[in-house]
């Protein structure tokens, strides 16, 4: 091929005849990657140019931009790719509609070829083309007689299977092009998985080149990818059909960089809004958000895409911003062109804040007092008052008891369970900073009676289970996948998993003279080996460094790191947990499913919450206060036209189910009935039950956590038929109404039916009945002789309304 060389110092390449696509000029342009580093003759780097407009809209203008290489003796640009010409440094100047920017270019070993590498060149082919996914050759038993490790977690094993497991079959050293692995993937011979790529494509060439080189294994110490970047970092696409190309760049342990766009596997969280092609071209679809990810080696990286209808006219309404939470929530809403709902009424706020902070409904007096209060900061006053109540801490003890699996069993005595519960109650009631008691918990040593916190290590004795639980509860990570293979959709590798598990290998447990008690201590010995190759794993913080553990209590070290600012996941995860309690939806949802492929709906908000929580010295009460006093928490559930389809950006309040314990307490409260739970006095509240084993029909039906696992899914909030039937016909309503005899008492107090009706409404719904409701119900009451019966029926009816059953 001949390339005509332009005379002059620089060659100017025009990608396409530029046609103006935007009447208004962009405010800036960005070129990705921000620096171009090309190594070896095979090196290349695709570049993309993104134009950013005043309204935040971005456009991929790579094809329209004018791109100039400062020194054609160093690099050239062919098909949007920077290719090496000679060693040295130069730069690329990019110009688009008057905006310019420069990108430095560094070319090394421009004429030196890089030998083909199994791990760097061949293994990514299998990932990119889906060969080693779970449904195909990545299955535990392989597919059609050939197995590859799932997503390539075991490249050495894959090398063996390709070259030497079935000798003479999978690769052909004599005629590389006729290797079975080549013929199958190119569809030259029938392949159950179909044709994966064509003859002449990069994948084909690299695979053949590797076989031609004799199918070599990589020399020891070959560079490994250490990080992966996905560009651009975000995009706001304007209208269906607009596109944005992505590029993926990997950094290696030897400092080199490679454009791995053609080797990365692209995924989108929402195909209907942003569909990504196998080559990384995102095409905008319906209005919405899409998190587009690229997977390469063990890394998954993602960028958020927002898709708006073409030329949408939008202006953000005036919305109160009470604190940083509102600022960040609104910022995201502005990007999405969503208007938040209005602030809720006092009545709605009262009921909502009571349920959320105390797990109770406001009493009639509390209702009246609050409604009568005319001060501007009455909501703040109420919050302050409620947070001092013991019900507030009881609600959070319940929450943590679920996560810490406080539950008696054949192995764990009731006494130990109670002591454990009391310990937790004490910490939360005294508002001990979260990091302190978490450290105390995870580093605990001693007898389960003397130091009940050690029950944490009695409840679960399996090393790997303990490892997984700690990661899931305190960091929100589900790392279970990495026990057998690198996590397919997250950053966790088997090395990370077993490195973290190594902190829990030295838990000593011994019996005392009391058979119900167990002593947990640091045994000082015990290691864990990597299941592949059996190498001993040094303790490594999950996502952190490898500390010196010689002669130290490993759990102590781990606890110190985990509940500290050094752990980037602790504060954000706990903030998210608190947030979820008040919004019914996590910023990352589920709250214990933090992973790259499940990004936060508002990353800035989550980071800020974590930052504040750390600044508050892990005083979670302050965090709660910030949240409940924000306008975002106090939004109405009434949606407007722009936010009715939004389910994750907190543009309106959500209608939430009430968890089993609180719901039972509320029913007991309004009907003035008492409950009897084992081990608790008559009239105790369901949230006070210490032992997870204790339950009753109501609680079980309404999805009380069994505390058998740490999963956030333990608390079931899904409606069931038995719940409805129980409320309609069961003893939860009818019998309690009779038993509590509220109506009887009120009638005895000579209250009129109207007053009684008002009381029922305020008690249950924290509002007065509407005129319409009043007229209709009173008509029925007046027509009936037995006032008690008909009013009790009205009471029953209110208890069965959805308005009562939900927190809204």
């Amino acid at each position: 091929m001949k390339i005509s060389v332009l005379s002059g110092a620089c060659a100017i390449l025009l990608f396409a005849s530029a046609t103006s696509i935007q009447a208004i000029a962009p405010v800036s342009i960005a070129v990705f990657p921000p620096d171009v580093n090309v190594q070896s003759a095979r090196g290349k780097q695709r570049i993309i140019v993104q134009a950013i407009y005043a309204d935040g809209i971005t456009r991929d203008v790579t094809a329209q931009a004018k791109v100039t290489i400062s020194d054609p003796k160093i690099a050239k640009i062919v098909n949007l790719e920077v290719l090496p010409v000679g060693d040295g440094k130069c730069s690329i100047a990019v110009e688009f509609e008057g905006k310019t920017t420069q990108v430095p270019v560094d070319v090394k070993d421009a004429i030196k070829d890089r030998p083909i590498s199994f791990k760097l060149d061949v293994m990514p082919i299998f990932l990119r083309n889906g060969c080693n996914q779970g449904g195909c050759h990545g299955a535990a038993r392989g597919k059609d007689g050939f197995r590859l490790s799932l997503f390539g977690f075991d490249p050495d094993g894959d090398h063996y299977r390709l070259t030497r497991e079935l000798n003479g079959r999978r690769i052909n050293l004599a005629i590389p092009e006729e290797s079975l692995v080549v013929e199958k993937s190119t569809g030259k011979v029938p392949h159950t998985g179909g044709q994966k790529f064509a003859v002449g494509e990069q994948y084909y060439n690299d695979l053949v080149r590797w076989v031609d080189a004799g199918g070599p294994q990589d020399p020891a110490g070959i560079a490994t990818p250490v990080s992966v970047d996905l560009f651009p970092k975000n995009a706001l696409l304007d209208g269906k059909g607009s596109t944005q190309q992505l590029i993926v760049r990997a950094k290696y342990s030897d400092g080199s960089e490679r454009d791995v766009t053609s080797l990365a596997l692209f995924l989108s969280s929402n195909d209907s809004s942003g569909k990504v092609s196998p080559n990384g071209l995102v095409t905008a679809g319906d209005r919405g958000e899409a998190f587009v990810m690229a997977r390469f080696s063990t890394f998954t990286v993602g960028v958020p895409f927002i898709v708006l209808p073409k030329d949408l006219k939008f202006s953000f309404p005036a919305t109160p911003e009470k604190n940083y939470i509102d600022t960040l929530v609104n910022a995201k809403l502005k990007n999405l062109r969503i208007a938040p709902s209005a602030t809720c009424s006092d009545e709605v706020f009262l009921r909502r804040i009571f349920i959320d902070l105390t797990g109770m409904l406001p009493s009639v007096e509390e209702y009246k007092t609050f409604m009568a209060n005319k001060s501007a900061d009455k909501r703040e006053q109420l919050v302050k008052e409620l947070m001092e109540r013991k019900e507030f801490s009881e609600l959070w003890v319940l929450k943590w008891a679920e996560l810490l699996q406080i539950r008696s069993s054949n192995q764990v005595s009731y006494k130990a369970t109670l002591l454990y519960y009391n310990w937790l109650q004490d910490r939360i009631a005294r508002n001990v900073p979260l990091n302190q008691w978490v450290q105390e918990l995870l580093g605990a040593n001693g007898g389960t009676f003397n130091n009940p916190v050690t029950n944490y290590y009695q409840n679960e004795t399996d090393i790997l289970k303990v490892t997984e639980n700690v990661a899931q509860v305190f960091m929100g990570m589900r790392i279970q996948c990495a026990q057998c293979h690198n996590h397919p959709f997250d950053r966790w590798t088997m090395d990370d998993y077993y490195g973290f598990a190594a902190f829990f290998t030295q838990i000593g447990r011994k019996r005392t003279d009391d058979p119900r008690e167990l002593v947990v201590f640091n045994s000082g010995s015990g290691e864990i080996n990597h299941p592949l190759g059996g190498r001993r794993m040094a303790p490594k913080y999950l996502g952190g460094e490898t500390p010196d553990v010689v002669g130290k209590d490993r759990r102590g070290l781990m606890a110190e790191w985990l509940a500290s600012p050094k752990n980037p996941y602790f504060a954000t995860n706990l903030s998210n947990m608190v947030w979820t309690h008040f919004f019914g939806l996590g910023i990352i949802n589920e709250v214990d499913d933090v992973r790259v492929s499940n990004p936060p709906s508002n990353s800035e908000l989550l980071q800020e919450l974590g930052k504040k929580f750390t600044e508050y010295n892990y005083d979670f009460k302050r965090l709660v206060k910030d949240i409940v006093l924000s306008n975002s928490y106090q939004l109405s559930t009434q949606a407007n036209a722009s936010n009715e389809s939004d389910t994750k950006n907190f543009s309106h309040s959500s209608i939430r189910r009430i968890k089993a314990e609180t719901f039972l307490d509320c029913i007991s409260q309004v009907t003035e009935t008492k409950n009897k739970f084992p081990g608790l006095p008559l009239g105790a509240r369901a949230v006070q039950i210490a032992d997870g084993k204790v339950s009753n029909y109501f609680l079980t039906t309404f999805g009380r956590a069994t505390r058998e696992s740490v999963c956030s899914c333990e608390v079931k909030l899904d409606p069931t038929l038995s719940q409805s039937l129980h409320l309609l016909n069961g003893d939860a309503t009818t019998q309690r109404i009779t038993q509590g005899n509220l109506i009887g008492k009120l009638l005895k107090d000579k209250k009129t039916p109207e007053e009684i009706l008002d009381e029922i409404y305020v008690r249950c719904l924290s509002r007065m009945p509407s005129a319409d409701e009043k007229t209709k119900v009173l008509a029925l009451v007046n027509a009936e002789k037995d006032k008690k019966q008909v009013l009790e029926d009205a009471f029953w009816a209110v208890l069965n309304t959805r308005e009562y059953m939900f927190n809204h």
Binding site: A174, H191, Q195
Partner: protein, 687 residues
């Protein structure tokens, strides 16, 4: 170089394409056009084993029969043929699934075939049965050496390989003729033959169906069975007549490469298997399928008939091993023990023991009377691969530990051969059990002397072109000649040295004899000489005293004469006195006359004495000299005698070497002549 191979492959594929394109003059028919297309795209699922949707596409009758939802092709009506509709992406599900639409030319071809009435063959006649081109079956099974000369290729085979590659691929097809010096090596779409006596390249047999993965000689060495194919596409087993080098029969329509195959000792049946998990037994009389054995749960990896042909054994990828009755395909034994891929099976010549090797690293010996495991030996760490139970009872195995080992028939180890640089995959043993051949991962066959496990030669599975071979051969001859002249010179030197050594030994031996004799005789002689010396001394002493006495008498006589004379002078006239003077004078004179005699006698005696002294001294010296020689010389002789065999051996070795080299040169020259005379392929690929 790589490029040239790619070019070559491109050329080859061009060649095959044109071969396919050729019959386009013919009408589109199943056999020539449609089946190859189906094999490319469809039969991985639509074969007799998987039968996806009940559709089987690699058999004409089954295509016509249709699938579980009725007919799939309707003669003359492409629109009514669901097969066409799906392939042309006119109705769902599109076929083949998960792949782009097939090339338009193929769709047009398919449409034409249907329109033209679904012809099976070009002439529209049903395909003739797959009849062998010669009688293969034997009347009886004959064990032991067959009559007549061992079968070798009688006609020169094509020497120019059909496929030339720079490198070979892992050798998994390897077999040696039981009676003839013939080795067959699975190469790239061809089988490479070598002479196991001379290690000479004999030529190639074409295997265009793909890659030969299993090779087996018939028990009389008259046929070579080659199983193989293209992975994921097609598989079959082809029988070659060794004498003619011609294909006589091809059986099997597998949808993946055949991995295991054998021909029964009576040559009436061929059993084969592969990834289909089904063992299929075909008749060699008419090529018909006789039995299908579906007991295996994984890929069939090894099959071998017992020497009497009554039974045959088959092993699979999961380690299942079964013995079947040949005549009906019924199960005879399940041999439980292996836990992984069975790589090879081999029967002992008497048929009582079956040996098996597996990826579970073991060599197992099974007794076939009751189907019990006799012995399990951890033969090759990482996995045992190759196995031969030779007629003479020697077992040879190879494995992932890169070594090959020989064992006695009871499983006791004999020796481990020099290791290879990569996996040792398959073994064969020459007809005379002199050489073992090991196929390796790099595509070579390494020849070992079975007796000492030493490497003797390397036979590539990727032979070069005829032209390259001629050049190479000529070069080799030059090298060999250089070597010959060098070794000849060495031989001459060695011979000279040997001769010298022999001469020296003779001399030394004579010295020893002499010395021994001297030590034995001299003491007596010395004694005698001592006595002689004493005698001589006495005689000398006596003679001296006699002389002295004589001289004294003369002195006395002179004195008395003087006195007498004085007296006489005083009495001159005293006659008596005068007479006395005369008498005295006479006496003196007489005495004086006697003196010389005495002097002479003394002189003689002195000489005699001196002689005896010298004689004695001489004898004594001789004794002194001879005495140490007697013990010393035998050592020298011993050393010389010991040196002798080495010198002689060197001579013998060098002589043998010279002879070998001369023979090699002879062979090479003959081969070179053969290569030169051979017809190169018209479109010979270049390496």
């Amino acid at each position: 170089m790589v490029r040239s191979i790619i070019l070559l492959v491109a050329l080859l594929s061009l060649a095959t394409q044109s071969a396919v394109a050729q019959p386009s003059a013919k009408k589109i028919n199943y056999q020539d056009h449609i089946l190859p297309f189906f094999q490319d795209k469809c039969v991985a699922c639509h074969n007799q084993d998987k039968k996806s949707s009940g559709v089987i596409l690699n058999s004409y009758s089954k295509v016509i029969e249709g699938g579980s939802s009725g007919i799939i092709v309707k003669a003359g009506d492409p629109e009514g043929s669901s097969l066409f509709q799906m392939v042309a992406h006119k109705s769902e599900p599109f076929m083949p699934p998960k792949s782009p639409k097939v090339a338009d030319t193929s769709i047009v071809m398919l449409e034409k075939w249907i329109k033209e009435g679904l012809l099976e063959t070009a002439d529209g006649k049903a395909l003739a049965l797959n009849k062998p081109t010669a009688d293969i079956a034997l009347g009886t099974v004959r064990r032991g050496k067959p009559d007549g000369p061992p079968p070798m290729p009688e006609k020169p085979l094509p020497l120019d390989p059909l496929v030339v590659t720079l490198k070979g691929n892992a050798v998994i097809g390897l077999a040696a003729s039981p009676w003839a010096p013939l080795l067959a090596v699975g190469g790239q779409k061809q089988i490479v033959l070598y002479n196991t006596d001379t290690m000479e390249y004999l030529g190639v047999l074409p295997f265009p169906d793909g890659f030969p993965t299993v090779l087996k000689f018939s028990r009389n060495g008259g046929f070579l069975l080659a199983g193989g194919g293209r992975g994921g596409k097609n598989g079959s087993a082809t029988l070659f007549n060794i004498k003619t080098g011609q294909k006589v029969l091809t059986v099997g329509q597998e949808s993946d490469a055949v991995l295991a195959a054998d021909i029964s000792p009576d040559q009436t049946r061929i059993a084969l298997g592969g990834p289909s998990k089904v063992v299929r037994v075909y008749s060699t009389v008419d090529g018909k399928l006789l039995h299908e054995i579906k007991k295996h749960t994984d890929w069939i990896t090894s099959i071998e008939y017992s020497p009497d042909g009554v039974l045959f054994a088959s092993g699979d990828r999961s380690g299942n091993l079964f013995v079947w009755e040949s005549h009906n395909g019924k199960e005879y034994f399940t041999l439980k023990g292996h836990t992984n891929y069975i790589n090879n099976l081999s029967w002992r010549a008497d048929g009582n023991i079956l040996a098996s090797v597996s990826e579970d690293a073991s060599l197992k010996l099974w007794e076939v009377e009751n189907g019990t495991l006799v012995k399990s030996i951890p033969a090759h760490a990482g996995g045992a691969q190759g196995l031969v139970f030779h007629r003479d009872g020697t077992i040879v195995t190879s494995g992932r530990d890169k070594t090959s080992k020989s064992w006695k028939s009871d499983g006791t180890a004999i020796l481990t051969m020099e290791p290879l640089t990569d996996l040792a995959l398959r073994v064969a043993v020459s007809h005379d059990a002199v050489f073992a051949f090991v196929g390796d991962w790099n595509g070579n066959v390494v020849a070992y002397k079975l007796a000492d496990g030493k490497k003797v030669d390397v036979l590539p599975s990727n032979p070069p072109t005829l032209k390259a071979r001629v050049e190479l051969s000529a070069k080799e001859i030059v090298l060999l000649r250089e070597q010959l002249s060098k070794i000849s010179a060495e031989l001459t030197t060695a011979k000279t040295q040997d001769a010298k050594l022999q001469g020296d030994l003779a001399t030394t031996q004579k010295s020893l004899t002499d010395a021994t004799l001297a030590v034995k005789d001299l003491p007596a002689k010395i004694k005698q000489l001592t006595a002689n010396q004493a005698t001589a001394l006495a005689l000398q002493t006596k003679s001296t005293s006699e002389l002295k006495a004589g001289e004294a008498m003369i002195l006395a006589s002179t004195d008395s004469l003087k006195k007498i004379k004085e007296q006489s002078d005083k009495n001159k006239l005293d006659a008596v006195l005068a007479k006395n003077v005369t008498a005295a004078q006479e006496k003196l004179d007489k005495l004086k006359l006697e003196l010389p005699a005495l002097q002479k006698a003394l002189q003689e005696k002195t000489v005699a004495y001196t002689a005896t002294v010298a004689g004695l001294k001489d004898a004594q010296m001789k004794l002194i000299a001879a005495t140490p020689l007697v013990p010393a010389l035998p050592k020298q002789i011993d050393a010389m005698q010991k040196a002798m065999p080495a010198a002689q051996a060197l001579v013998t070795t060098l002589t043998t070497k010279v002879q070998d080299l001369e023979k090699q040169i002879g062979t090479k020259e003959a081969s070179l002549q053969r290569y030169k005379k051979a017809q190169p392929l018209a479109n010979a690929p270049k390496s």
